[in-house]
Amino acid sequence: MQRFVNNPDFIVDDMLKGYVKAHGDTVTLSDRNDRVVKRVQAPVEGKVGIVAGGGSGHEPAFLGYVGEGLVDAAAIGEVFASPPAQSFLDAMVEADSGKGVACLFGNYAGDNMNVKMAVQLAEDEGITVKYVTATDDMASSPPETREKRHGIAGGLFMWKAGGARAAMGGSLDEVIASAQKAVDNTRSICVGLGSCTIPAVGSPNFSIEEGKMEFGIGHHGEPGIRVEQLGTANEIAAEMTEAILQDFDFSESENLAVMLSGLGATPLMELYVLYDKVAEILAGQGHRIDRTYIGNYVTSLDMNGVSLTIVRLDEELKELLDYPGQCPAVKY
């Protein structure tokens, strides 16, 4: 496939150079580490620092969520690979104003190892760091081992809840509690129709046969729950919505936030086609959709696919979602 690339081995560096030029009023690269994107204002005096991070290829995550009321510094890894411990540490240092740092990341083996190493190194430097991992991908592990689930597009609500709580002046423990509450009430599921290609590898990561779809595919092309005949948009939307509702097991009508995120190569048009059915089913079961997000929020390179995320809202989560925030990827 033809693509816009210089040397594929340096695509992350090339992206970052363009990113800070485009959004120089909001973000800059850290002087300590050119794989850390930080708010121009970070660290913000008197505020708990928010750090995010992960592999590249999920743009606008993670760097797009660095901004006011959200993330203070993000560690940027190679494509689909966790940033090293040093980058997480440097992001923590950049975010810390003395009130401590909340590190909010996806629950992958590499990220877990590198964050835990960084937390120890930060302690040596006198910085208190606590962390929360997003576990919204319900296809990555069954309900009984929910803590093993990976974090995907639903991580956005964790960053927003933690970031807003910090901006309101919350303590580190309060920020962690708000981020964890968002995680506990968020579920996502993906469907993949076509593979993605890591630029430095050059060939597709996996294959999906013509006429088939991978239900429950992961954000790096990890195999899903099952391979199925490709359905209509309505059938796919219904299957995704039912899967999440079943995992939640709501006993009464709920207030919800719903996000449909393209995985990189899916037209916005198709996201709206899917949303029509998702909204119809949720309303039909007596639920109320309070907030809707449609777009490419967390992607997977050039994968043709979509993630559906549903968040159960209470008054606190609603207040946190509505708190003003501004970053290059989204304005609240």
Binding site: S82, P84, A85, Q86, K116, M117, A200, V201, H220, E222
Partner: protein
């Protein structure tokens, strides 16, 4: 049978060359279960370490420490911390030694394994690099306890490592991103186990060459 820590820099060079030479092979194996970048990330780290070491005279322990620091500091992923800790362990257990013999090598391997195991919940049978590392270190120790010399210990280690590597083909993945394949992973060799075998093989062969050259 022994060699000096100073001359042991050849062991470091051999490992770096082996990893870089297997860049595409490792990526190919990774593509079946993972995202096909294992060789790219590994060779990148070992190449950077090689560049840093080419600018100074380092003994074996310093060379291992350099590899470890580059992997932890610059490579990331799961392999950065896991192999980074492995090489930092090799360095820590040998830095005070001027001569590397069968006993020192045992201490190095045990320390390296211990440091690596701290970071992961994977155990034998989970289809990871632990399936090579665990039997390899245990086989070395058995041979050492029986009074084997460096050659006996290392060849025992490699045989067990090879067996462990082959064994990963029959396993379902339980840890890491490959775990989502479950039984679908059966039939494929694990990429991390493969790179672990390549590292142990290069380390054993280069050590023996040095020891035999006297």
């Amino acid at each position: 049978m022994e060699f000096t820590n100073l001359k042991g820099s050849a062991v470091v060079t051999a490992i770096i060359e082996a990893v870089c030479a297997n860049r595409d092979y490792l990526s190919q194996i990774d593509a079946a279960l993972g995202d096909g970048d294992h060789g790219i990330n590994m060779s990148k780290g070992f190449f950077i370490a090689g560049e840093e070491l080419s600018m100074r005279d380092a003994d074996m322990s310093e060379g291992f420490l350099t590899i470890g620091k580059v992997l932890v500091g610059k490579i990331g992923g799961s392999m950065g911390p896991l192999y980074g800790s492995f090489f930092i362990g090799l360095a820590a257990a040998s830095k005070a030694e001027t001569v590397i013999n069968a006993t020192v090598m045992l201490n190095m391997l045990k320390k390296a394994y211990e440091q690596t195991a701290l970071l992961t919940s994977a155990s034998v049978g989970d289809k990871t690099l632990i399936d090579v590392l665990d039997p390899a270190v245990k086989a070395y120790e058995e041979a050492a306890v029986r009074g084997g010399n460096l050659e006996a210990c290392l060849s025992h280690m490699l045989a067990a490592a090879k067996e462990g590597l082959e064994g990963t083909k029959a396993m379902a993945a339980k840890v890491g991103r490959g775990s989502r394949l479950g039984d679908r992973a059966i039939g494929h060799q694990d990429a991390g186990a493969t790179s672990c075998y390549i590292i142990l093989e290069a380390m054993a062969e280069a050590s023996l060459r040095l020891a035999k050259a006297g």
